[in-house]
Structures are given as C-alpha cells and as structure tokens.
C-alpha cells in the first residue's frame, strides 16, 4: 500500500536568528533584518510525510503560497527528498489572512486529492496555528492536531499520538486525514547534497518572469512570455521546472482570496522588546534551585 501525501509549507522570517531590529516603526515585521527560512514546524511535517513514503512507498508533494521567492522553501523540501513542489503565486492572493490562505490551499489540495495532508503545528511569524484546522474543515478531511508521533499507517488507517500538554492521546483515523505536526515528532533529515547541488537551479515560472523583467526591458507582454516559455521549457527538459499555479489554475474565487477574502482586522501591534537587565547565577544544587524557584514565584513568572 503506498500513499500520496501533500505537505503545506510556508516561508517565514527567521525569528530565532534576529540580526537587526525585527520590527519597523509602523509595527510591521522588518523582513530585511530576518533571513527567510522554511517554517521550522513545516520541516517536521515534511519529515513525517517522507518517513511514510520511505517505509510504504508513494509520493510527497509540497505546496506553498507566496511571492515568487517563496519557491525557495519548495527547493528546500526538494533537497530533502520531496517528489514535487507547487508554488501558488498570484497577486490577488496577497495579504491573505488564515481564512483566505486556508481557502486557497484547500483548492490546491482538492486538485491533488492526497491520502494525507501534513501541516506544521504553527508558524513562527503568525503563530496562529489556524491554517491546518481551517484547511481540514474546507477539504472535509479528518483532522488530527498536535501530532507528537506517527505510530502506524496500515491500509487505510493512520494511528497517531497527540501531545495534549497534560498527557498524550492515541487516536486512529480512516484516510484521508490532515495532521498538524509538532516539533517533537521527529528530527528532520538534512538535505541531500547531490539533490541540493542539482535542484538549486530549479525555478518556477513566477521566478523566471521576475528575473527576466529584472534583467531586461521588454517591449511587450508577448515577447516576455515567449522568453519565459523558452526558459521554462529548457528547465523542464532537465527536470528543473517547479510547478506553479495561479488562482485560476486551482479554481479559487478571487473574492475569497487576498485582502478581500480576509476578515481579520489587526487591532494593534506592539513591539515588545525583552532585554536582559541583569543576570544572576544560581548554584547547581538543591539550595540554588530553591532560590531560583522562589524568585520566579515572587515575580509571578510561575505559580
């Protein structure tokens, strides 16, 4: 029995490795100060899908929605062994909140009709943990959240352990299912160097367009399109073309996408800067630990 999995990944600013001021004065994220990376939990989702493929056979497709440069996370997934990647890139989808995003992803997932869909538990930029569950709702897939370990996949049944914070829960579900995967589920494999050296040259159409427009002035759309088609065909010949979809390709209604499809209103954004004012060392013994606990209770860090 082999399975087709789809993994949803997102390119995010690396909030774990901040190199400058992370917030602009207007309260939005200063992306220039933050390296763009694949959302960490998504790499655990990918690993879960790859492990199933390695044990049972089948394939792993990776999808992402974003601007042309978001294809980098697809390449990252391809280096690690994903079979194919799809970039959903459409200006009409810009500014999507979780509702609109999950709608777009749902349209794409339905087109691929997989046995299993994997999402990271949450992203490190938005930190909503909503897209996975919303996507399950819209695709009518059984939802298993907080997957801590995939226990077994047998025939059409998946058994997973959920991390409930206060304990674990073992659940079994009939395929197809959608799982949101926690970072404790596995340690993602490193990229294969050979795949990386080859596939670093893979490009999607939106990236080709962007590059050609940057490199030259084009008199009209037709000549640009001809050049894009030529480059895409060349890449495809060497297995280096990353699939890309517009909203029309996946049958998404523009009114439900982007800012128009996003009811979320940001009330206020606060830039909270934690600074270490002072440091204190505690002895590595019972007395030291008691002193630390006492202080943490006193300043209400713990109760």
């Amino acid at each position: 029995m082999n399975y087709h999995s789809v993994v949803c990944v997102k390119q995010v600013p690396d909030t774990n490795r901040i190199t400058g001021n992370p917030m602009k004065d207007d309260g939005t994220v200063n992306r220039a100060a933050l390296e763009a990376i694949a959302n960490p939990d998504d790499m655990h989702a990918l690993e879960a899908a790859l492990e199933i493929r390695d044990h049972h056979g089948g394939s792993v497709s990776v999808i992402t929605m974003g601007p042309p440069r978001a294809a980098e996370v697809l390449r990252e997934a391809l280096y690690r062994g994903a079979d194919d990647g799809y970039l959903i890139s459409d200006e009409r989808a810009a500014g999507s909140d979780t509702l609109a995003t999950s709608y777009v992803l749902a349209c794409a997932v339905k087109k691929l009709s997989p046995d299993m869909v994997f999402c990271g538990r949450r992203t490190i930029d938005g930190d909503n943990a909503q897209v996975g569950p919303q996507l399950a709702e819209k695709t009518e897939l059984t939802l298993i959240t907080y997957v801590d370990s995939l226990v077994a996949v047998e025939d059409r049944t998946v058994t997973a352990r959920r991390d409930l914070d206060t304990g674990w829960e073992l659940v079994a579900a009939e395929l197809p299912v959608l799982m949101t995967v926690a970072h404790t589920a596995n340690t993602p494999r490193p990229p294969s160097v050979k795949r990386m050296m080859k596939l670093k040259k893979a490009r999607s159409r939106p990236e080709i367009v962007e590059k050609l427009m940057r490199d030259a002035d084009w008199p009209d759309k037709t000549s640009l399109k001809t050049a894009v088609d030529r480059r895409a065909a060349e890449l495809e010949k060497h297995g280096l073309l990353i699939q890309s979809w517009t909203l029309d390709d996946i049958g998404a209604k523009p009114g439900r996408c982007g800012l128009r499809g996003s009811p979320t209103k940001i009330h206020r954004v606060q830039s909270i800067v934690f600074t270490a004012a002072e440091q204190k060392r505690f002895r590595n013994d019972e007395a030291g630990v008691s002193e630390l606990i006492g202080l943490l209770i006193k300043d209400h860090t713990i109760r």
Binding site: N16, P190, P191, S192, V193, M197, K200
Partner: protein, 570 residues
Amino acid sequence: MGNYFTDNDDILFLFEHADLPSASVVMENGFHSSKTIDFAPENAADAMDNYFRILKMLGELAADVIAPTAEATDRIGNRLNPDGSVTYAPGIADALDRLGRADLMGFTLPYEYGGLNCPQLLYVMAIDIVSRADASLAVFFGLQGIADTIERFASKTLKERYLPDLASGRTTAAMVLTEPDAGSDLQSIRLRAYQSENKEWFVHGVKRFITNGCGDVLLVLARSEPGTMDGRGLSLFVVDRSDKVKVRRLDDKLGIHGSPTCELFFDHAPAKLVGKRRRGLTPYVTNLLNKTRVAIAAQSLGIGEAAYRAAREFAHTRGGFGDTIEKIPAVRELLVDMSVDLQAARALTYLAGLHLDYDSAIFRRAVPVERDAAGQKKIAAMLSAMGKYYASEMSVRVANKALAVLGGSGYMRDYPVERHVRDSRITTIYEGTTQIQIVTAYRPVLAGVAKSVIGELTDRDWMGDEAELVDNLREGVGLLDRAADYINGRRDQSYSDLHSRRIVDMACVLIVGALFCRYAEFNDAKMTVAKRWLDTKLPELHLSCDAICSGNRSVLDRFDVLAGRVSHGD
C-alpha cells in the same frame, strides 16, 4: 538553532581566502563533468556556491543535531555484543545515518563512485566543523581517506565493489595497521598474508588499537613476503567483515569514547590484494597517512574550537574580583593565546589540505597546476605532517588552557571542557605520534622545502603595514637558515635528531607567519593577529636558533646523569 559554519568567522574567512576556487578548478578538471552528472558544478563560481551550501547545511547539522548528543556519547561509549558485533552510541549511529543520507560520506570520491568530488580543502573544513560538535564522530567522518586509497590504488573491480557503499554511508571502513609489537614502527608489522593453492589471499594474526575495527571494510597492512623484515615485504589488502574476523575486545580509553577501538583477530580471513605486492607501506599507506593526518589535524581544530568557545563564554559571564574574569590580564592572555594558536593551526592545516588537492590533481593528471610531481609530493608530505603536529599539539594546549580558565568548574563533568581535554590528547598520538610527524617533516625543512613554501607565499613587493610584517618574517627565515646551516654543516645525526622538534617548530611558525601576512591584507582583525604572532614568535625563534647553534650535546652525552639511573627495585 545554531550553525557551526556561519558562526565561525575564521572558517568563513578562510573559505573566502584559502584558495578554495583554485582547488575546485583542479578537482573539476575543466568542469566537464557537468555535461554528464546533473549535480556537478559548471564553473568555479557554481562550485563555490555548492561548497558554501554544503558547509552551511553541515554547520546546522553539527550544531543542532550532533553537538547535543556528544555528552551522552562520551558517557555511553560502544558495546561489544556476545556475537562479536559492536553497537555504537545512539548519537553516533544517528549521525552516521544522517551524514550518509546527506551524501557526505563520499566527500572527495570521484562522481563515478558515488562521491561529491569535493576538494580535500573543503573536506578539511567539514571535519573541523563536525569535530567541534563531537570529536568521536570525526573518526568516522574523517576516515574517508580509506576510500580514497582504494580509489587511487585498487583495481576497478574492487573500486566498484566497495566505493559506492562507502560513499553512501551503507558501510564504514577502518585502516588496520597497528599491531601489539608495531605501532609507530610500521616496518616491523608481522600480520601474515599468504596465498592458497588457487592464488586466493588470506590474512592471519592480531591487530590492535584499530579505530572502528568493527567496520565493514578493513584496509589491512600485512606481511605478504615471508622472511622479509622491513616495509618492502608488506602489502595492502581489503578484508570484509566476517566470522573470520573477530573483535576480541574494545579498549577502555581516556577520550573519544564514541569511537570503538578494537583488538582484531584474523582467523585465516579471506583478503583481496590492493594494487601490487610489496607496495603496501610505500607508497600506499604513506599516501593514505598524508590524508588521514590532515584529517586528524582538522579534528584537532574542531576540539580546540569547542574548548576555546567554552572558555571565552565562561570568562565573559563568570564574575570574580568585582567584575567578570575576562577583565583579568592573565585570563585575557590565556584567551588571546588560545585564539591565535587556533587560527595559526587552522591556517597551516588548510594549507596542507590545499596541497593535497594539488597532489591529487597531479595524480589524476588533471593538472592545470604548474608544479612538478616530485616537488609537490614533498610539499604535501611535509605540510601534512606539520599540520598534524601543530594542530594536534594546539588542541591539547587550548583544551588545557580552557580548563585553566574554568578552574574547578572545568575539572567537573558539568562542563564539556574536561571532555575536550580528554578528547584532545589522542590527536597527538594516532595517525603517527607527534614525534613521528617531526621525523617526517624535519628532513624536508632542512632541505629547504619549508623555505620554498614561504617564498611562494611571500615573494613579492609588500606595502605599508604588511611590509613591516614581512620584514620581521624574513628576519625569522634568516634564523631558520642559520639553524639549518649549522645542523647540515655539523654532520652529526644524533645532534640533528635532538633538535628536530626545534627546527620543525621554527618552520611551522614561519609558514603560519607567511599565511598571516597574506591574510593581514584583508582585514584589521587578521592584521592584529599577524602582528601578535610575529611579536611573540620572533623572540622564540631567536631562542631556538641559539639553542640549536649552541652545539650543546649534554642530553646525549650525559644522559645517565641528567635522566638518572633506572631503579630495578629489590
């Protein structure tokens, strides 16, 4: 979330400035492979981009996955099972699996055998990074010279049989040289190799201190010519792991607990001859040792780096005497000496790596290198020995000083520094002890090879601050000349041997000095390091030169008095 490549300014600097592009050019030989191998680089820039990606990925793996397991690996070690198999520590087993799946176990092997065809110089950087995470793992990751030796000297049949599995990490290898009565002195190896009536080879006897002797592919040096006593009676064999090869015991040792050190008994085990008979020691094992020595030098760099960072961070945060202890001049000097020593060892080791690439290129006849083969071989052999000597001794010094900075805390197992001290100590012993490296390096130094390397690095006009540095360096070269002339003129072998370490030390200081002069052009930090190096080393060079030219033979002539008698007890 860390990265042992991108957080290391020194490795990043050398990635840019240690002639890696020229290594890529000789390894890729015109970049023809890109037409047939879909991942091969198209040009030097493409290769450099690949190299950067490889180290970045490895740096992340080292920091996030490997380093957190090092402490447990040190505690758990390996287990010899009743069936004779050996179970690695979980961290080692997992890391080997990941390194194999990431295609990193055939780092320098050619494409046709499943390798990445990367330069030795890049491989040296990779070992440096991995060893900082776990010195034990480096003995697995860093022994790819074994596969290189099969690639260079074995038949096509053997290559096709062994190399793809080694490159993918499906199998691991061991170099099986040492015997109970033959350590540094490989000429006296006794393990018997013989042929049956139908010309099949077998080996019989005992080997000990074999790193990863439980591996699948054993490269064995054995005496194939009965009645011979020296290296010319030795041949090299590949032996498969089987029930004819028994791991008799695992050694319980001071450090690198994740590395299984085995005593092996070959019970008339089937063997396959590598290359030609009688060539086992020279040139095959000699060639292998050039590579593995540089690998151990790189391992030493990683250990030194880990120890230095632990000390630097501790001194920066530890309070004492009303401030942090890094404000204390004595602590500052410890840290500065460690940092400069580490950078010196890295510069020298990477230069050795680069010259191994030139040597390989000549061997593969790939050469756009304008060098004669014999001259290049001498330079590569000298630099390998020097790099191993200097870097391994550096790691012992730096780990020891790191422990000094941490004081009592450093002596405890709560901090990793005591492990670095224990792990560092082996680097001056295996793949040839420090004394053996000195023996290997000092004849070429006396013959002027070191001077030619220095000349190659510095023979041009220098401007500004660098000119002053180079003047100091040339003063030092004059001292080496004087010392070498004195020794050469004296024609006293034992006196010459007595001062071999001083001679090699002087050469190491000057080659590093020449590299530092070049690096000083690129940034202020390297300029400051270069000045510090020459300021502190020039007086030492005078001292060494004086000692050598003193003609004092008391260590040789009055040994019994100075060392005292051996007490035989009652």
